[in-house]
Amino acid sequence: MLKIGVLALQGAVREHVNCLHAPDVEVKIVKRVEELEKIDGLVFPGGESTTMRRLVNKYGFFEPLRQFSEAGKPIFGTCAGLILMAEDIKGETQSHLQLMDMEVQRNAFGRQRESFETKISVKDVGEDVEAVFIRAPLITGVGKEVEILSEFEGEIVAARQNHLLACSFHPELTEDARFHQYFVQMVRESKEAAADSMALT
């Protein structure tokens, strides 16, 4: 069984759990650092990034999460999760986990009244993917290693860097589970690759 965790410090956790379902997947709620050891991939849910960051520090998740990523285990961040992963936050001196080589801008579309939903095309995931943008951030710049998966009105809204996946919208608020299933496949491949390298050594 693949074990995929959802970081449950704050935010929309249950919605992710529903979208990750697959016959070979067991979803785990992660509230404590030691629970990271038992999982093959992790989702950073949407929520309030400032709140999540404070709780990440408070419960000693900062280094363990960076190590989780360094070990090559897949991570998928949506909205606030994307902000946690970014190398830089536009206009701010301090960013968070700095896992992914990209610059992001908070609340890039404005306040809640500017929030919206739409359908977008996502490379390797599909056409007309339902996307709900809530006080959403944008990816304003990416490094060489980062592949752009989707753009909306010329702005980057989804990207991948090897084992790291991020989007500025909320696929978990829709019935459309394709984006999550793309991530589940990333976790499958990562686990198989890890098993192969174990077999070689």
């Binding site: 704050q10 929309a12 509230k31 929520g47 909205c79 009244r113 919206f116 939903e117 709900v132 943008f133």
Partner: protein, 294 residues
């Protein structure tokens, strides 16, 4: 095509607040303390409920200057309160850019018969409820988030507990009813049939339900989470305590780890005095905010 103000966009905003604490603030300085402590949103007010009680008279929407000041001070969402049924206060707050509007019994109602048609607005609304019927009437009008009414500004958790237990037990009951019993239940509760059907199918409320109205300590917050709240509003509890920043942090952590009693014990040490509480039975009927709205 980008669609604004859809149910998914409005309800989704509340989903992102789950597991968090929303704090009442009256100025930019308090808003920053709340954000720093890990609040998921702030409610911008002219006075916290305890002071509204003390001041008496008519309580109205806050001065827009306060709402704007708070919005420019923090990056987390900013909510604001409008009087029940006050169409113009709500439209003004929407125009100002408030991220969420609380159609609130803490303010003096503008209309004793009709609540706002909240489905007409782009901005989402949160409303208070004492039971499932009231909760679903508000959702029927377009509320995207619910909270218990409790008894605001008292620092006494008993009413919030009563309202949360009531809603939870009614949700459980509806989940267990057969479909042919639903219409009678809808009649008894005074709730829209379609929403009861949705509860029966999904086993839960159609929108997020926070606790509010009397949360004064970390243990109070954790208690409400155990009773099934999706998150917690703290009104007077923080800035009426001795050490607001410490109190705020402790309440945020207790809400996240509401089943970790050792932690809550540690968090509760040396917090100083909580806000002074009030016994509900000593309130005059006219002082009971929860009885405003229907």
């Amino acid at each position: 095509m980008a669609d604004r103000g859809t149910d998914r966009v409005k309800r989704g905003m509340a989903e992102m607040q789950k597991g968090g604490v929303i704090m009442d603030v009256v100025n930019a300085e308090q808003a920053k303390i709340a954000e720093e402590a890990g609040a998921v949103a702030v409610m911008a007010l002219e006075r916290v409920p305890a002071d509204i009680r003390a001041a008496g008279g008519v309580a109205r929407m806050a001065d827009p200057t306060i709402v704007e000041e708070v919005m420019s001070a923090v990056s987390i969402p900013v909510m604001a309160k409008a009087r029940i049924g006050h169409i113009v206060e709500a439209r003004v707050l929407e125009a100002l850019g408030a991220d969420y509007i609380d159609e609130s019994e803490v303010l003096t109602p503008a209309d004793e018969v009709y609540h706002l048609d909240k489905s007409e607005y782009t901005v989402p609304f949160v409303c208070g409820a004492r039971d499932l019927g009231e909760a679903l009437r508000r959702v029927g009008e377009g509320a995207s988030m619910l909270r218990t009414k409790g008894e605001p500004g008292t620092g006494n958790i008993v009413e919030a507990v009563r309202h949360m237990r009531m809603v939870q037990s009614q949700v459980k009951k509806v989940t267990g009813l057969s479909k042919d019993e639903l219409m009678t239940e809808a009649k008894n509760l005074g709730a829209p049939y379609e929403l009861l059907l949705e509860i029966k199918e999904n086993g839960r409320l159609p929108v997020v339900n926070f606790a509010a109205g009397g949360v004064a300590t970390p243990s109070d917050a954790a208690l409400m989470m155990q009773l099934g709240a999706d998150g917690v509003f703290v009104g007077s509890g923080i800035f009426k305590s001795d050490q607001p920043d410490k109190f705020a942090r402790a309440i945020v952590e207790a809400t996240t780890h509401y089943e970790d009693y050792e932690l809550i014990g540690r968090l509760s040490k040396g917090l100083g005095t909580a806000m002074k509480g009030m016994e509900i039975s000593n309130l005059e009927p006219s002082e009971r905010m929860q009885d405003r709205g229907w």
